[in-house]
Amino acid sequence: MTTTPARRPRQLSGRPRFYTSYAQQLRMFNTRPKRVSVGVLMALAVLVPFYVNDEVLQLLAVGFVASIGAIGLNIVTGYAGQISLGHAFFLAIGAYTAAALSGDPDERTIGFGITNLLVWLPAAGLVAALFGVLVAPLATRLRGLYLAIVTLGLVFLGEHIFKEWSSLTGGPGVGRPAAVPELFGYRFDEGGELLTRDQQLYLLMLVLLAIFAVLAFNLVRSKVGRAFSAVRDRDIAAEIMGVSLRKYKTLAFAVSSFYAGCAGALLYTVAGFFDPTSFNLLMSVQYIAMVLIGGAGTISGSIMGAMFITLVPRLTRELPAYVPFIAAEPTGVPNVFQVETVLYGLLIIGFLIFEPRGLYGIWVRLRNYWKSWPFSY
């Protein structure tokens, strides 16, 4: 007797939400338009460096790195629901681990001369993850805003340590060179014959962002990701269903800190130099803003938010030309730097009140509007 083989699940054309198997629903690109649009977006991103000037490329490269950091914060805050104001601390740990590993041994700051990206990048992530695991016991004992305050304290302690430990950090106002992006003898921060320095860095960060984003996406659609969401939505219910709060909160902090560490390590390779005072509360708030403005609990939202927050300063720089009472130099009142900071605050408030799902939510609304156009539903 022969059994008919199970029919291969297939997608019906014109019925994008009709799934015939779980695997289909959980696929990374579960609809054709998604597949196409992401492909087109990636192709565009690869082409951008050949049409855009170096200044914008630097900004975009920093935006890609910030996206990695924002994805990290989104894993712990957006998916696992643990409010962390301490992201700057983990970014700092990654930045200094990488800088120390790849630093010049003959410099005045600590350096071991291991410039291979494949060594210092994972090392930065792992050291930061270690600190994440050390903080996690607090997270398993505390809930909600208690945790927010504790992680805020972490930023202040970190700021103090990095200011004082000048043999590692160079001290406030002086700083130290950032990690050297080198891969098997090829320096990304030195212009080659084919590509300029900024084009190379842009492409490097783009590739790294793609890798980190795919890894994160795979994590959050797996059992672990569902456990994170369960912890976020109702921790007691999650515990009763057999989701170990301690295990998953620790894991969330570890993964988030790993991402933060990697982002911190890469963040200053573009500028080449960094100062211990950068890792302050404002930086944590910027990352919170990226997550909230982009959309909590979405990977694509983290990237959108990070790009948005990174590009805001560049856009406000343009303001004095159009709005006459805003001064371009820091001595004037109101100047672009003040406008920029106020804008962070107002954007956070505005998005939380009017569009809690962030840019991702706006995108979903746009998409749904056009899906059934010209009918309203």
């Binding site: 305050i149 919170i288 900071t341």
Partner: protein, 295 residues
């Protein structure tokens, strides 16, 4: 010994300012379950207002007006940015207050500029002997003011109708609502009280050295104080504030000799170390209500 007692006295003075700020945090937390991260901005606003008003009005009247205006400001912020968020996750509201803080501080900093603004207090850095220990007059004033403010607040919560309503809605908002308590008024009033307390605290912080753009960080030291005391305990906020003040002052006195490897100005971050240590032992602070989860 004199050095130690001087440290304790200075610590109690600073600590009573932390206590005032901490009370603001706790009052808002009790009524709305939100930590108001915009407290630093209100503190700064209060101090700057006083520094502008002190010329025409004199110190005491300037403080009174500054407190009132800051309270109105807090009231307005609650109305515009926090009230629409009722029923939303507290995390979202807390982050909104963080956004308010950032935006507001930039505006206030614009009024400070790069210089230091004096609040024109009558004490300056003068000291007088108290039981044989020289104590700064401003620290004595801080302790006395804080004591009066705390006594007034506790009396207000215990004996007035609206105080009772505030306590009721802190225990159970819906039950209070069904008994005819206007929870909206309670929210507004708790923000106003917190704003007023922040203004008093800010003025005292600015006595002595004056108000500059970095002053806001001091308001965040009330956070370790409320964690120490427990987020929902008024007594805890006062005790926590005093403990943090004394610890910070003593660390400042002795750390350079005993543990120089901790670096300069370790005293500034010592409250956060105390907070971490206490939380490892008692997750809900010294006086906080232990959350009991029933399923």
């Amino acid at each position: 010994m004199i050095e130690f007692l001087q440290g304790v006295a200075g610590g109690l003075g600073d600590g009573s300012v932390y206590a005032l700020l901490a009370l603001g945090f706790v009052i808002i937390y009790k009524s709305t379950r939100v930590i108001n991260f915009s407290q630093p901005a209100f503190m700064l606003a209060g101090a700057v207002l006083v520094s502008y008003l002190v010329g025409p009005l004199g110190f005491y009247l300037a403080v009174a007006v500054g407190v009132l205006v800051t309270a109105m400001l807090a009231l307005g912020v609650e109305r515009v940015a926090v009230r629409p968020m009722i029923g939303k996750p507290v995390f979202a509201i807390a982050i909104i207050t963080l956004g308010i803080d950032i935006a507001m501080r930039v505006v206030v900093n614009g009024f400070i500029g790069t210089d230091v603004r004096q609040v024109g207090d009558p004490w300056g850095l003068a000291s007088r002997p108290l039981l044989g220990v020289p104590v700064q007059e401003r620290h004595i004033a801080m302790v006395l003011t804080a004591a009066v403010a705390v006594a007034l607040l506790f009396a207000f919560f215990k004996y007035t109708r609206i105080g009772l309503a505030m306590r009721a809605s802190a225990v159970d908002q819906e039950a209070a609502l069904t008994q005819g308590v206007s929870v909206g008024t309670v929210f507004a009033l708790s923000w106003a009280i917190a704003g007023g307390l922040a203004a008093i605290g800010g003025t005292f912080v600015a006595t002595g050295a004056g108000a500059d753009q970095q002053m806001w960080i001091i308001a965040l030291k009330a956070l370790p104080a409320i964690i120490l005391g427990g987020l929902d305990s008024l007594e805890g906020a006062v005790a926590g504030g005093l403990i943090i003040g004394v610890v910070e002052s003593l660390v400042g006195t002795y750390q350079a000799d005993i543990a120089p490897w901790l670096g300069n100005n370790f005293a500034v971050v010592s409250p956060y170390v105390v907070m971490l240590l206490v939380l490892l032992v008692r997750p809900y602070g010294l006086f906080g209500t232990r959350e009991v989860e029933r399923v």
